[in-house]
């Protein structure tokens, strides 16, 4: 086995093995568990670094294993895969740190971190899947591995959230499976191919392909939370904050959005999808989702619920970018896959800090919180400004490319959608910032758990991760033109995707 074959496997194993060991650890082995978690996360980051260097230099990484005649598990670490792998690996590192701090005294931590590692393992599999079969295997594994995390607290609300999550995702999985096997039956194994697999196969019935497209998009659209399949996401916010980070930034909604990217670009091919008339409906669904999510967010008093509806809206920026025909829109969508993750994880970390430190769960309780927790609130502010698309933040970069993509594709209405959403974002984030910074704090916080200690407003492990990700929110925008930014990588992918098409 050459290094080009084992490297993708090693990336998967770097979270799978620690996860399996952690399951077997007794609850009390805190130090060993923490060491395993961090060792896995760091090892993964290092391995991903190797992959990036290789792929940038034009190396090809992949592995095949036949499990039945005509059915193969295929891993392929191409540029697109690495975009997602890197995002998840880096954010996983931060989330692990955060979770260690967050769950310091919680019960059942071995179970929690075991499933946590399985989730990231599944995400790596989704990112590096080389065909639809492999994608589906890990996509469903992700559903199974997240369920115990969503219901981790064992409260009635958690149970309800978990059941709704399962109902949506299992039904979505069934639609996806139907689409995949149907496609497999018509066109052979659904291998992800730059420029599109179906574009190269003549004699397929357009109507059938449109139907299959609808099944596939409905299947992955559940996790991407496109309207009307988004109902589970606001319900699942009952989970602990690290799990919300996992759902909203590292793994679940990203897996859905990433699936849409793979299906449009590498199964159908963007040009072929355009000729089948599939992109416009997708763009319309994305636009509706963007506006609907933002509008619903306006009316939520629960902070995490407001953030959840914000995710519904923001993830569809990615879908919109995919549906805008042309490289500019592609770049905008892909780069937002990364940017949304960084910004949203910051916001959820901060929401978790407010809840853990002061017992604040509602927007109406946030008066003056900026004076008590200035650093957390600073990170929150940066994340929120990013969501609005304010200059010098990651959100501004995404929006600029998406707007350019929209005009290049001749869909100027999409620019108005983006502007409308920015205004709505401002309408639901600015009041929070106003409360936090300007209003006076109440005499007592709802439930102050962690008391200030010198310059430390809350536990270090809770404070540092959001500060890092907030810094990244600014960094990826300030250094967008450098060769190692997410933007540069998204341009590389778009180059390869469209260059292939031109041939």
């Amino acid at each position: 086995m050459t290094s080009n074959q084992w490297l993708p496997l090693a990336v998967i194993a770097s979270s799978l093995l620690p996860g399996l060991i952690i399951f077997a650890l007794p609850e009390k082995r805190v130090a060993l568990r923490t060491a395993l978690n961090l060792a896995g996360a760091l090892a993964k980051a290092g391995l991903v670094g190797l992959l990036i260097a290789g792929v940038a230099a034009g190396e090809e990484y992949g592995l095949r294993h036949a499990i039945a005649p005509g059915i193969e598990i295929v891993f392929k670490a191409d540029a697109l895969a690495l975009l997602f792998v890197t995002l998840s690996a880096v954010l996983w590192l931060f989330t692990t740190l955060y979770a260690i701090g967050y769950l310091e005294h919680a019960p059942h931590r071995s179970r929690f971190f075991g499933f946590f590692s399985l989730c990231v393992t599944a995400t790596m599999g989704i990112a590096m899947a080389g065909n639809l079969f492999t994608f589906f295997v890990f996509y469903e594994l992700l559903t199974l591995a997240t369920f115990p995390l969503v219901v981790h607290r064992g409260t009635p609300q958690a149970m309800r959230g978990g059941s709704i999550y399962l109902a949506y995702t299992l039904a979505g999985g069934a639609a996806l499976l139907a689409g995949i096997v149907w496609l497999d039956h018509l066109a052979g194994p659904g291998e992800f191919t730059q420029g599109g697999l179906l574009a190269t196969i003549p004699g397929l019935d357009p109507l059938t392909l449109q139907l299959i497209f609808a099944l596939l998009i409905a299947g992955v659209g559940v996790k991407a939370a496109i309207v009307p399949l988004h109902g589970w996401l606001p319900q699942a916010m009952v989970a602990p904050a690290p799990v919300s980070a996992l759902l909203h930034a590292v793994a679940v909604v990203k897996a859905g959005a990433f699936g849409i990217v793979r299906i449009v670009y590498e199964i159908y091919g963007v040009e072929f999808a355009q000729s089948l008339g599939l992109l416009l409906p997708l763009a319309i669904i994305a636009a509706v989702t963007i506006l609907w999510g933002s509008t619903r967010a306006l009316f939520q008093n629960d902070l995490k619920k407001r953030l959840a509806f914000s995710t519904v809206s923001q993830v569809s920026y990615i879908v919109l970018g995919v549906a805008l025909f042309g490289p500019l829109g592609t770049i905008g969508g892909l780069v937002h896959l990364v940017h949304q993750g960084i910004m949203k994880i910051t916001l959820f970390f901060c929401a978790g800090n407010y809840a853990e430190t002061l017992g604040i769960h509602k927007v109406s309780e946030m008066n003056g919180v900026g004076r008590r927790m200035p650093l957390t609130t600073l990170a929150f502010t940066i994340g929120a400004l990013g969501m609005m698309g304010a200059p010098l933040t990651a959100g501004a970069v995404s929006k600029a490319w998406l707007s350019d993509g929209a005009s290049a594709a001749g869909m100027d209405w999409a620019i108005w959608v983006l502007w409308g959403s920015s205004l709505l974002n401002a309408a639901y984030f600015l009041p929070i910032l106003h409360r936090a910074w300007i209003k006076l704090p109440p005499p007592d916080w709802p439930h102050e758990e962690i008391h200030p200690l010198g310059r430390r407003e809350t536990a270090w492990l809770l404070l540092l991760p959001p500060l890092f990700t907030a810094a990244m929110t600014l960094g990826v925008a300030l250094f967008a033109d450098s060769s190692i930014s997410p933007l540069a990588w998204a341009r590389l992918i778009a180059d390869r995707e469209y260059l292939n098409m031109a041939e």
């Binding site: 036949a66 499990i67 039945a68 005649p69 059915i71 598990i73 019960p107 059942h108 179970r111 079969f133 589906f136 295997v137 890990f138 469903e140 594994l141 559903t143 199974l144 369920f147 115990p148 219901v151 981790h152 607290r153 064992g154 409260t155 149970m159 978990g162 059941s163 399962l166 299992l170 039904a171 999985g173 069934a174 499976l177 139907a178 096997v181 149907w182 497999d184 039956h185």
Partner: protein, 483 residues
């Protein structure tokens, strides 16, 4: 080959031998005898596998008499898969039962298990219809005895109902065999395969109908499922596992053999006929799942899940004409379900034994104090739901592919809805297990069960999942069996 070294014969003789010894010896020697015996049987199957892999099939005539007088034993890829499944699951269950019955073994548990295995092995190896009848009776009576061994009034009632069903089933089968013998003067399955044609007399059609219906009754396909839930749900956990995982598969195996072998000419002459088992299978999936969703007791839930899962096995019949896919799907489903259902029943047994309640609600909070058993239950559930990467998933994939190839999209819809319904009843248990124990937190944590109880369930469940990733050798074994 010297008859003394023939694994075919030993596969039948060994269980008879250790069953008899276990009957004579004291109860406490039962487990050791059974484990040694089943271990040796497993070695025989492995030896046989090497033989079949190189020669395609392996047959021989007991006593050296030529057909139609002699008794023909024959092994091919299909019987080999079933033999492997049977010995493998039986070994794990024997380990489990040894620990489960550590205080008091039900009377005659070990001898009956031995006779049951002897009957099953003989069934998988027999090549003539009358001999098959004998094996069916042996399996049926041993199974009824095992259900009755539970001892309670409900178990006795369930056993009597099961006895009635199995006797009627084998009676119908025997009547069919008599009609066949009257028409052709032979009961050899391979000879009959060439003798029976589409122009066969009415008596042969009647015989086919009787034999196949009798087997459906024994396989508990809806509407003949009435005896299964009380019998499988009421028996002690190791017995439930043995019955649900293996015994119903034996009569399915025979149904499939007759369908593809002696009666192939009849089933091909009337293509619409294949829709009958498929329609009943679809109804079984929906009805069984629904009853599992509504079940009040944990083992009833698992038993009704068997009713549903058996339905998948019969969906393959209208698809057999399209090539190997359908047969692969059926055998893989039988194997994966065998492993998963054994795991689920024994995991449920542990949950009930430790938790002290046989209600579904009794598993509340089990994720905290019985994580391994619960994990085994969940993994088995993954196979039943047909989620990747389990064997159940691969079977479903192949089934859907075959249904599309045969132009029968309704089977796709049934298979996918069945998976979702299974999701409802599996997660009904799992989500309860994650529930935080309420109010009376002062109840002392139950004692941890013996590790063996938990890990045998886990091993079976893990097997049912891993077989999805390593199905290639299994599929290669049945490649030689032509539909």
């Amino acid at each position: 080959m010297s008859p003394l070294l023939d694994p075919l014969a030993w596969l039948i003789l060994l269980p008879l031998l250790w069953a008899t010894l276990a009957f004579v010896a004291a109860d406490r020697h039962g487990p050791a005898l059974a484990l040694a015996g089943i271990g040796a049987q497993l070695l025989c199957v492995i030896a046989l596998a090497g033989d079949v892999a190189s020669h395609g099939s392996n047959g021989h005539l007991a006593g050296g008499w030529a057909e139609p007088l002699g008794i023909r034993l024959v092994a091919d890829g299909l019987s080999l898969v079933m033999l492997l499944l049977t010995q493998g699951v039986a070994l794990a269950l024997a380990l489990y039962a040894r620990s489960y019955f550590s205080r008091a073994t039900p009377p005659a548990f070990w001898p009956l298990t031995g006779f049951l295995l002897a009957g099953m092995n003989a069934l998988f190896l027999s090549g003539d219809l009358f001999n098959l009848y004998v094996t069916l009776e042996l399996v049926g009576l041993a199974a009824v005895g095992l259900v009755a061994a539970g001892g309670g009034a409900a178990q006795i009632a369930a056993a009597l109902r099961y006895l009635l069903a199995t006797l009627v089933g084998s009676g119908a089968y025997l009547f069919g065999v008599a009609l066949i013998y009257g028409s052709y003067g032979t009961v050899s399955a391979s000879l009959l395969g060439t003798l029976i044609t589409a122009e066969a007399p009415l008596a042969v059609w009647l015989a086919g109908g009787l034999m196949l219906t009798g087997l459906l009754l024994k396989t508990a396909l809806l509407p003949f499922h009435f005896w299964l839930p009380p019998a499988h749900g009421g028996a002690p956990a190791p017995v439930s596992a043995l019955l649900s995982a293996l015994v119903v598969k034996a009569s399915f195996y025979l149904f499939l053999r007759l369908w593809l072998g002696p009666f192939a000419a009849l089933t091909e002459a009337l293509p619409g006929l294949a829709q009958v088992p498929a329609a009943l299978g679809a109804a079984a999936i929906l009805w069984g799942s629904w009853r599992a969703i509504r079940a009040d007791r944990l083992k009833m839930l698992v038993a009704y899940s068997t009713v549903a899962q058996l339905g998948y096995l019969f969906l393959i019949f209208p698809l057999l004409g399209t090539g190997a896919l359908a047969l692969q799907a059926g055998i893989l489903q039988a194997t994966a379900h065998g492993l998963a259902k054994a795991a689920m029943f024994v995991a449920a047994g542990t949950l009930i034994k430790v938790g002290g309640s046989d209600r579904v609600l009794g598993v509340a909070g089990a994720a905290a104090h019985l994580p391994v058993s619960l994990f085994a239950f969940a993994l088995a559930g993954v196979t039943l739901m047909g989620l990747p990467p389990s064997g159940g998933f691969l079977a479903k994939w192949l089934l859907i592919d075959a249904a599309l190839a045969a132009g029968q999209p309704w089977i796709v819809v049934v298979a996918l809805s069945g998976g979702l319904l299974a999701g409802i009843y599996v997660f009904r248990v799992l989500r309860l297990a994650f529930r935080r124990p309420t109010a009376h937190d002062d109840v002392p944590l139950p004692q941890r069960p013996a590790a063996l109880l938990e890990w045998t369930a886990f091993a079976l469940a893990a097997g049912s999942v891993l077989i999805g990733l390593g199905a290639a050798p299994l599929l290669a074994l049945i490649a030689g069996v032509q539909p």
